[in-house]
Symmetry: C2
Subunit: 294 residues, 2 copies
DNA sequence: TAAAAATACTCCATAGGTATTTTAT
DNA sequence: ATAAAATACCTATGGAGTATTTTTA
């Protein structure tokens, strides 16, 4: 059995106002509508809620109990509406961003900082992993939106370019480099399978480039350390070494074939409606010129 | 702004079932009705609650929040209905009985004991006072029902006889009493204004009875103590001295004019609906033969 | 007699139904 | 191809209105 909440609302108002007529005014209804509501409610519940004479309205025991409980229901209703209103106004909500490691560590912090500053009530999570993991998490609804380096292949996923990331060739300032014979140097490369590794391999094959020596490392940070130690050359996302170059600890070697770039892509689940926080976040990332280096 | 609780109920069921079709079954509605309810709710709230594909239904952030809160609303609704049901079945409720002092102390305890035994979940209060006080409390809705000795005069009150109470003339067994010359004895009487006092005065005037000596006391108990001490004769509600007479500590003097009785009356507020506990209590008092003495 | 609630009736908005289409697996 | 949700359209209930009567202070 269910309660008719319309009728309950009328009853609560009558109890509050101690008057059918006043309740009608408060609810923008007519007095007969209130009369009917209370009567129907009493018939539904098979119990008398109000003792009424034409001069006064008073609650029965049952009416008083119902009134108290109904009030907390309608209070909860208001809380609920407030919550929804807050979400509509982005004063409440949650955003889970997935990003591959470099993006999470170097590109996103500035955007996320700006986001949380503008929308301080939106709870933000940033999860990082390799491109594949992120795509899985998008598929499993574990993240609202992903940012990855590689291409998006799964048909269920929507890939869209966010921006280009520049890869730059670095060396130690102490290392003597001949720009016309880069093949002769030792190249520090990421393992194949990693986003950066794939781009570099593609670059090698496109330019029929065969380094004399290669050293394969497991992370970009390790590669940079190797280069700093004068261990060789390395193609690395420029954003990672931007300040190190500025400080003169690393040197940038221009490539004859021109700047090497790769796309950073949004990943989202096709057909999944865009939450308001996600919408705001994507807009911020597209419009804001927080960082232009790369 | 208000929520349509019908729609909310449909939404909650969809969230619980993870299916529009199942929700329709659970609510004994059709699937399109559920579709419409959810859509209307989303339009009302101006926020998306469900991410739906034809194969799965999942809650958005806002939907999850709404679901949680709505569940507690409907839980409260059930509590409310249970409460009402309990009241209908007299497994919850409250009864306030007002009674004049003697009735409260001597007549009612047995009935109230039986009442609370039969209806252990009805909370009972017994307030005692003089007949006038009780009538005022009935008028002020402070008690549900009153039991008084005197007549009920106020036009707003409904008086109805419950039973007759026998008054008996008592003396100490050690006191030598001449039944043909009772006027010669000292009579212990209640102050005028008290219920018992009025009855005794009426008795005196009806029988042109002029005791040689009178002692006026403030309570029936004081009167009994006086009689026990051999201080004189006294007309007293028989129920008060029933066991004392049986034990031989007091003696009953038969009256030549026959047994003296006075009515005990129910007092209630005219037009006030009878609560279920009151109904049960009155029925018990009328039917039960708990006490026949008096 | 005056103020408030109840009643009688009327109407229309909408909740819910049926039939069908769309969508995604 | 199938199962589920959405859509279109229709019907009927019941919520709310107006007019009036009843009640009691």
């Amino acid at each position: 059995m269910n309660i008719n909440f319309q009728y309950l609302r009328a009853f609560v108002e009558v109890a509050r106002c101690q008057s059918f007529t006043q309740a009608a005014v408060a609810l923008h209804l007519t007095q007969p509508a209130i009369s009917k509501a209370v009567r129907e409610l009493e018939l539904d519940l098979e119990i008398r809620l109000l003792e009424r004479t034409s001069r006064q309205v008073r609650l029965t025991e049952a009416g008083l109990a119902l009134y108290d409980q109904a009030r907390s229901i309608f209070a909860l209703e208001q809380v609920m509406l407030e919550d929804i209103k807050a979400r509509r106004g982005l004063r409440r909500g949650r955003l889970v961003v997935g990003a591959s490691t470099t993006i999470a560590a170097y590109w996103l912090p500035a955007y996320l900082a700006q986001f949380t500053q503008r929308l301080p009530d939106i709870e933000v999570s940033l999860v990082s992993g390799n491109s594949l993991t992120i795509q899985h998490q998008v598929l499993d609804y574990q993240v609202d939106i992903g940012l990855v380096e590689g291409p998006v292949t799964d048909a269920r996923l929507q890939g869209q370019m966010w921006r280009k990331e520049r890869l730059t060739l670095i060396a130690s300032p102490t290392l003597e480099v001949d720009p016309t014979a880069l093949e002769n140097h030792c190249w520090i490369v990421r393992e194949s399978g990693s986003g950066t590794g794939e781009v570099v391999n593609q670059f090698f094959s496109e330019h029929r480039f065969q380094p004399k020596r290669r050293i394969e490392v497991g992370s970009n940070m390790a590669a940079i350390q190797m280069v700093l130690a004068g261990g060789g050359l390395c193609l690395i996302p420029r954003i990672m070494v931007h300040s190190t170059i500025d400080q003169g600890q690393l040197r940038e070697i221009p490539l004859a074939s021109g700047a090497l770039e790769r796309p950073l892509n949004w990943v989202s689940l096709k057909g999944r409606p865009v939450s308001l926080p996600r919408q705001a976040f994507e807009q911020l990332c597209r419009s804001s010129s927080t960082i232009s280096s790369g």
